[in-house]
Symmetry: C2
Subunit: 144 residues, 2 copies
């Protein structure tokens, strides 16, 4: 469904959010341990999230990655997916036609569109806040 990079990015953002609630910045090393991902690759993905204003970074000693506590609730899963995997999952044809076009649909267009729209709504309506709180409460997990 999503690329590995995107999976890591989502989990990283959730972990950073949980720590940001406690005023803590985190390093790629901590993140990689917490979400069970390759550290250097995770660092690369974090750069993309920084560029897309999902997380912010502070260079130098005592630096690290963090998310403004006031923004955690307004950041949606869709922003993260879009920053890393782009918008093909929303707009692309399920059978790989050059474009998903109502006027020239592939055989599964109608059925696919329904699923894709649900997915889009889900991603657009799921905030980092609820995911992070789920982790903090122990209801869900980021690894194993």
């Amino acid at each position: 469904m999503f690329s590995k990079a995107c999976e890591y990015g989502i989990k990283a953002a959730i972990f950073i959010a949980t720590q940001s609630y406690e005023g803590k910045r985190v390093s790629p090393k901590e993140i990689a341990q917490e979400i069970d991902s390759p550290q250097a690759f995770t660092a690369k993905i974090l750069q993309a999230l920084v560029k897309n204003d999902v997380v912010s970074s502070v260079k130098g000693a005592y630096g690290g990655f963090e998310i403004d506590r006031n923004q955690i609730a307004s950041i949606k899963l869709s922003q993260i997916v879009n920053a890393i995997d782009g918008d093909t999952i929303y707009n692309g044809c399920g059978l790989g036609l050059h474009a998903c076009d109502e006027a020239h649909p592939c055989p599964v267009h109608d059925k696919f569109k329904a699923i894709r729209t649900d997915l889009k709504h889900m991603l657009e309506n799921t905030s980092l806040e609820e995911l992070a709180l789920n982790i903090k409460s122990g209801e869900s997990f980021l690894k194993i």
Copy 2:
């Protein structure tokens, strides 16, 4: 969503079905032209579909690929996807945890499961017949 191989496989199966209704066997060359895919790669994918009893092949002169006319209605999209991409799309964790486990869910488990279940039902309830008839009637297209 699906791999390129799976996209080609679905389109190939649909095209073979349309021709099988008319008693015609088709070659990888014809198929690749009709679905706009690389010929040799498509031939490889056809082998997988043959092994998984989605299509049947006849070797030698006057041979080619075909689907038993009486089976077209009972072949579901899910069989094709399963034959090529396996079952991770149905059973795997959306965030790449080792397994999707109700007792140890990832943060998006509940929301993901709903989408995935819909997708599964869609694939299991969509037959090659309806897709092929859509193509024959000119309502949908396999390329461009």
